[in-house]
Amino acid sequence: MKERDGLRLARRLALAPYGLWSLLFIVVPLGFVAYYAFTDNDFAFTTANIARFFTATSESDGVVTHTYLLIFWRSLKLAVISTLLCLLMGYPIAFILSRASARTQKILITLIMIPMWMNFLIRTYAWMTILQDTGILNSLLRALHLRPVHIIGTETAVIIGMVYDYFPYMILPIYSVMAKMDLKLEEAARDLGCDSFGVLRRVIFPLSLPGVISGITMVLIPSISTFYISQKLGNGKFYLIGDAIEGQYVANNLHFAAAIAFILMVILLIGMALMQRYANSRAAA
């Protein structure tokens, strides 16, 4: 009895630093965000910041739009496109990777990780140099007597940047689920009448869903809230939700910046919960 109590105490003590860490750097800051989101400049309670996100309008060329809803919609669209591209390219790569020899796996994983060791700003600048109208890509096209393309400052450029930066976050979780998969299950599926596509559809894909879900989460969330990529590769023409937060923050509108961040967080949480529920229902079916 005594011993078990001692063990429990030891376990609590061992967890204490992590608990303290979460409290200080996760719970308290989140509390501050919520607090700022629901207060005005005099720190009196208000829902005006939240309301402003949904109701603020602006007019250009005689067309009236909901400013922040439009920005949010644009962010969501670019993030979803980037995430889908990452998934479409990453899933087959993760699969091939997980079935390669141990040596090849190690080498390829390292190659995938190496860009992540470089600063994210530098990587984005590198893409600027490549995609600019007078950049590396167009020089190459000219040298080959092909027509140069205008990419920088378009949505395409922003998507290229997002896909490049967040691609590893899609591959790695899918790869780790697939690498753990029991190869006998594939043999069993083939034995029971599946051709290669049937094995993929009926066994490999359903079993890789947890990896797919976490890959989607890990790409969607940073790409929906990015601001740097859109500023550098979109030439600031594609104002995204991250840019909006940054802009309000720089302009010292801390309360409204917090409100946007808070709303974004709530929407993402709801989205993730729905996705998790879908995955669980698939797993239970």
Binding site: L185, E187, A188, A189, D191
Partner: protein
């Protein structure tokens, strides 16, 4: 009986190592056939070639007279029960069994009917909605069998399916497998390294060693008429002595002549002589055909297992008579207890119990290595 599967001169190597060496084997309709041998003997590879997971390097594989060596597994009317069951963790019991039917896109009510028939067969009615990870080893085993049988294959392949179960459950499942085979009439090809399992379940036993078939026969044939020292040693316990066939029905070993029932050997042909431990009678030293000293006695419940040193060769004898260590005893061997075999590459390698305890070590190593 109709021949279902025929392997003809099949060879297979992995990384330059020969795993199957010119194996030929006929498998008949409605037969319970066991591939028996120590780990690395090629029995699992044989099974995987029949299933279609491996292609033979040489030789051919016929299914009802048709060469199927290059047919992929999903187009063969053969299903497998895997060693660790390989149940789909994302599907419940019902959907696991329904899997091959869903692949074939059968209508829902037909699927329901066939699955519940299978659940009845393996006594798991009521388990439809359970997740497979919540089942015991024995129950998972039954689901695997039901899943493999639901589309009525001509042949069911079982790869050491009982290895992961504890002894009691294993005995029950042996009975049950045999009953399922009888009830369905499906040909079972069963792989095991457990000779007792092979003897008790099979119609036909195929003993394999080093990628070659050593003997094919009924359990009784294999036990009573082993073809060489390997088979005699692997199936049950055997005292194997080097002898000379003096003439028909007379053999000389251990320095004396014995009447026996075997004939058809050349005069003075060197042979291997097998005497099963349970076929030796213990008599007073003075009236024994052979005389020796007891070196160890082990009580095994139904009988004692004693080791007797006769001129340096150690015999194993199973007896219900109690004798003491160091006692001087005589042995009497009836003519029909003596089995004569041709000399083979395995002569002299088995059948002397001088290193008995070491042999036990090897056995337990072989069993723990059998999963690989």
């Amino acid at each position: 009986m109709r021949k279902i599967i025929e392997l003809k001169n099949v060879s297979k190597s992995f990384d330059g190592q020969k795993v199957l060496d010119n194996v030929s084997l006929d498998i008949y309709d409605n037969e319970f056939l066991t591939l028996l041998g120590p780990s690395g003997c090629g029995k699992t590879t044989t099974l995987r070639i029949i299933a279609g997971f491996e292609t033979p390097d040489a030789g051919s594989l016929f299914f009802l007279g048709e060469d199927i060596a290059s047919l992929p597994p999903h187009r063969r009317s053969v299903n497998t029960v895997f060693q660790r069951y390989a149940l789909f963790p994302h599907l419940n019991v019902f959907e696991n069994i329904a899997f091959p039917l869903r692949v074939k896109k059968l209508p829902q009510d037909e699927i329901r009917e066939k699955v519940s028939e299978m659940l009845r067969l393996v006594a798991l009615t009521g388990f439809e909605r359970r997740s497979v990870s919540s089942l015991s080893g024995g129950q998972q085993q039954r689901v695997a069998i039901a899943r493999a049988l639901v589309s009525r294959p001509k042949v069911l392949l079982l790869d050491e399916p009982l290895a992961a179960l504890d002894l009691k459950l294993r005995k029950d499942m042996q009975q049950e497998l045999k009953a399922i085979q009888k009830a369905t009439g499906v040909t079972f090809v069963f792989v095991t390294h457990d000779q007792e399992e092979a003897l008790s379940m099979s119609d036909t036993v195929v003993v394999m060693s080093e990628g070659k078939i050593q003997q094919i026969g009924t359990p009784i044939d294999i036990y009573n008429e082993p073809r060489n020292a390997f088979v005699a040693d692997f199936i049950g316990e055997s005292n194997i002595l080097s002898g000379v066939m003096l003439r028909d029905r007379l053999v000389r070993f251990s320095g004396r002549d014995f009447d026996c029932v075997d004939f058809g050997f050349d005069p003075n042909e060197p042979v291997d002589v097998v005497v099963r431990p349970e076929d030796v009678d213990i008599v007073p030293a003075e009236s024994g055909q052979l005389r020796g000293t007891v070196t160890s006695v082990t009580f095994l419940g139904v009988y004692y297992e004693i080791i007797v040193d006769i001129d340096g060769f150690k015999w194993m004898i199973q007896t219900t008579d109690f004798v003491d260590v160091d006692e001087h005893i005589g042995l009497k061997i009836d003519p029909d207890a003596i089995h004569i075999m041709d000399k083979s590459e395995y002569s002299g390698m088995f059948g002397d119990y001088s290193s008995f305890s070491e042999e036990y070590d090897e056995l337990s190593q072989a069993e723990s290595g059998a999963e690989a």
